[in-house]
Symmetry: C2
Amino acid sequence: MSTKAYEAYMRDCPAAALLSTISNRWASLTMCTPGSHGEAMRYNQISREIPGVSQKMPTQTLRMLERDGMVRRTVTPSVPARVDYEPTPLGQGLYGLLPQVRDRAAEKTGEVDEARTRCDAGV
Amino acid sequence: MSTKAYEAYMRDCPAAALLSTISNRWASLTMCTPGSHGEAMRYNQISREIPGVSQKMPTQTLRMLERDGMVRRTVTPSVPARVDYEPTPLGQGLYGLLPQVRDRAAEKTGEVDEARTRCDAGV
DNA sequence: CCGCATCCTCTACGATACTG
DNA sequence: CAGTATCGTAGAGGATGCGG
């Protein structure tokens, strides 16, 4: 991502730029976290939903999502601290379709695997 | 992407794995290419839609999409050669929602920019 | 419990050059 | 036109350890 022309394109074409942002692996996974249908999620809930991932990605991704106005971060200063994240209306609007995509993906896994093996076989 | 647990998760949770695949920058951009509402696209059409990107990404991405059964690749052996890509039903099913996401994104660009500057300002 | 900072590795991607 | 091959780099992301 360093070409002048490409950067200019990304600056001038908001649709493409935002699409790139939205279709980020971690962003889509965290916004699709099973609990994320409108309710608040605690930090550890989120990272536990994606077993085995380092804790860096949830943090980093949530910061990005917060900056973009996709989630609201609420700190409850108890001991130990408690932090909740909840999707904003903006976030719901933009990521709201992803659960459907995920569900369709779940249905079609078989077909995709089949296509892959067929392709790898040689056809 | 090297942890055992994470890889196991990706293997065992088809929804997450496919979501990750689908929400790939280049895949979503090429599947959302303005001409891609059912008609075939020629190679250069596609790469021209994303100005400034190196020609490597379209090729690589299209290969992946073909392998996954998302697009069908048709070679017409004329001189010079002509190659068309068209989304398969499977591909339309999985990527069909993305144009809507892109359009919503286009609408909300203002709000996102606002959120970013507000956040960067310090709030 | 939440999360930032550091270091280090690995791969995604761009640049470039060459074929049918 | 539509690729393939090779190489180099920047940045993504994992491991770890500390701080509030």
